[in-house]
């Protein structure tokens, strides 16, 4: 990479063995994911599917939050735009899944670029407010155009084929395999963006925006690209959700759904894209498995989870943060030390 590196490149110890390990891990993970239908019962597949979709949404969010340092609460808006864009293609023209994915990506990217027109001017808490407004605008749009979107009843999505005339997705396992493949492709593309010089400038944006501008970079342009990429990836996840759940509805635009990927990032931290999937699996397990037994109220449990996560793991769960959290708890129990 030519040009200054802003000190964002980490010093990496990479010899041949480490390189092999780094390449082997994702491949092994992918093999396990593809073999999963033979290993776990159907309901496990459903859970992992939800976790993959949420994980991809969180990874898309992390482009903006973790790499660029801009907090968004309204990423559910991009997700829903993608879901509706592809669902309309599936319903009205019986398009193939790949066409739907393309349509969702383009729609999400365009929507992200439009949002960036306003968002590039604001930062911090004001950006948080703006993303909340974005979410609300999309929710209002879904309600206003009830004839197209189906409103709160939602839109039932017919099962597409993978390519036009090939690849039946009517069985759960087939949809799961398609999902794993599609998520892997999207993640590969996202890593391509993040590892490129452009991705480095995302990080520089977070670390020192003024310096980046002084060096002659187009800060506004970089922000626009970040929103476009992130919006496109979130919309891609939305399309996968439409294919997988065969339903898109106005309830997808809720605060709760939109805050979920933020919680994922809070749990696993904001470094890299792959950890988001681990966090998503934990969240899905808690949301769908624990909530009925603990307290019996999903939103209450999530709220408690948010509060606890914010207090104990402000930078994501790691060995260090666990030790610090334990220290803080001990401090609370013992009281103030003199």
């Amino acid at each position: 990479m030519a040009g200054p590196s802003f000190g964002v490149r980490r010093l990496e110890v990479s010899g041949p063995p480490l390189l092999v390990l780094k390449a082997a891990l994702p491949v092994a993970l992918l093999v396990v994911l593809f073999a999963l239908p033979y290993l776990v019962p159907v309901f496990g597949i459903v859970m992992v599917s939800s976790a993959l979709i949420l994980g991809l949404l969180a990874a898309a969010l992390n482009i903006v939050v973790g790499y660029c340092g801009m907090v968004s609460i309204g990423h559910g808006a991009f997700f829903v735009v993608g879901a509706y864009a592809s669902a309309l293609f599936f319903v009205h023209s019986g398009a193939a899944a790949v066409v739907g994915l393309l349509a969702a990506t383009v729609a999400g990217g365009l929507f992200g670029a439009c949002f960036a027109l306003v968002a590039q001017f604001v930062r911090g808490g004001y950006l948080v407010m703006l993303t909340i407004a974005l979410l609300q605008v999309v929710a209002s749009l879904v309600e206003t155009f009830e004839g197209v979107t189906g409103g709160s009843d939602g839109l039932t999505v017919p099962t597409p084929t993978v390519l036009p005339g090939w690849g039946d997705l009517s069985s759960l396992v087939a949809r799961y395999w398609f999902l794993v493949g599609a998520v892997a492709v999207c993640l590969l593309l996202l890593y391509g963006v993040v590892r490129a010089p452009l991705g480095r400038s995302f990080q520089a944006l977070r670390q020192n925006e003024a310096r980046l501008e002084c060096l002659g970079y187009q800060v506004l342009g970089i922000k626009t690209v970040a929103w476009t990429v992130s919006g496109a990836a979130a919309a891609y996840a939305g399309c996968l959700s439409a294919v997988n759940h065969q339903l898109v509805s106005a309830s997808d635009v809720s605060f709760q759904n939109s805050a979920m990927p933020l919680l994922v990032l809070c749990i696993v931290g904001t470094r890299g894209l792959l950890p988001a999937f681990a966090g998503a699996l934990v969240i899905v397990l808690v949301r769908d498995q624990m909530a009925p037994y603990v307290l019996g109220r999903q939103i209450l449990l999530l709220g408690c989870l948010f509060v606890v996560a914010a207090y104990l793991f402000p930078g994501g769960v790691s060995w260090r943060s666990v030790r610090e959290a334990a220290g803080r708890l001990r401090f609370l129990v013992r009281g103030r030390r003199s």
């Binding site: 004001y126 407004a133 605008v137």
Partner: protein, 290 residues
Amino acid sequence: MSVLALSMFNGLALGVLLFLVATGLSVTYGLMGVLNLAHGALVMMGVYLTFALVSQHISFGFALLAVSVAGCLLGMGMSGALKPLVRASELTQALFTLGVAFIVIDVIHAVFGTGFHSVRPPGFLDQSIDLFGASYPAYRLAVLVFGALVAAAVTIGFERSTFGAVLRAAVQDRDMVEISGINVRRMFTVAFVLGTGLAFLGGALAAPILSAGPGLDHQMLLMSLVIVVVGGLGSVRGALCGALLVGQVQTVGVAFADELAPYLLFATMGIFLVLKPSGLFGYASARTAH
């Protein structure tokens, strides 16, 4: 009275209520840079508490007082909980306050159910009076007068008293005020307590106008956020102007362009963010805010 005049009058009453609701959010955000996303849920709690008290045949006046005091107490607890997060990242702050909002909303739904509850105004105001040749609900008029009095008191207190002067200084330059030997964290607590108390009072006054139901928290949070953007961070005068503007946009907009009404609010917000990011009377600009 024409439709326009009537909806403008309604907008005035709504604006005064919104000022009570939003001013605390604006000042505390300006002071410590912690955006309280649970604000809407707190206002909603005030509305439901009023409903609970009034349905127990407790007089409306006493309910107003009790709800305001409850708001102050809650504000004290909330400001204490927020203090460790003042230096934390925005992600953490947003997550914490959202979590509190979820907890409050779900507890409310568990206790009161998800239906709509209407609150009757006190007996002597539960009627229509003649206003410039049109009948107008007496309660709204009373809210307008009472709310305007409270709003005037708050604005004068913020602009003229010593405490208000120190608060304004702390919003502009917190470090400088701290160096002068003033405990800004304690001021944050006081501002938060007063702000939440006012928000609860606003919710209680609004209870007979807006019925208690789900979705109220989002509505209140969004309108408060728009007011903060329009008025400028940490400015009571700005919050007053912003609230009156939002009140007009909401009522006149609904009266004349029903389909566009939800977008008008955000259009206002977007216009201010792009053209005047510091708001009407704000010191800090949205481009540099924290």
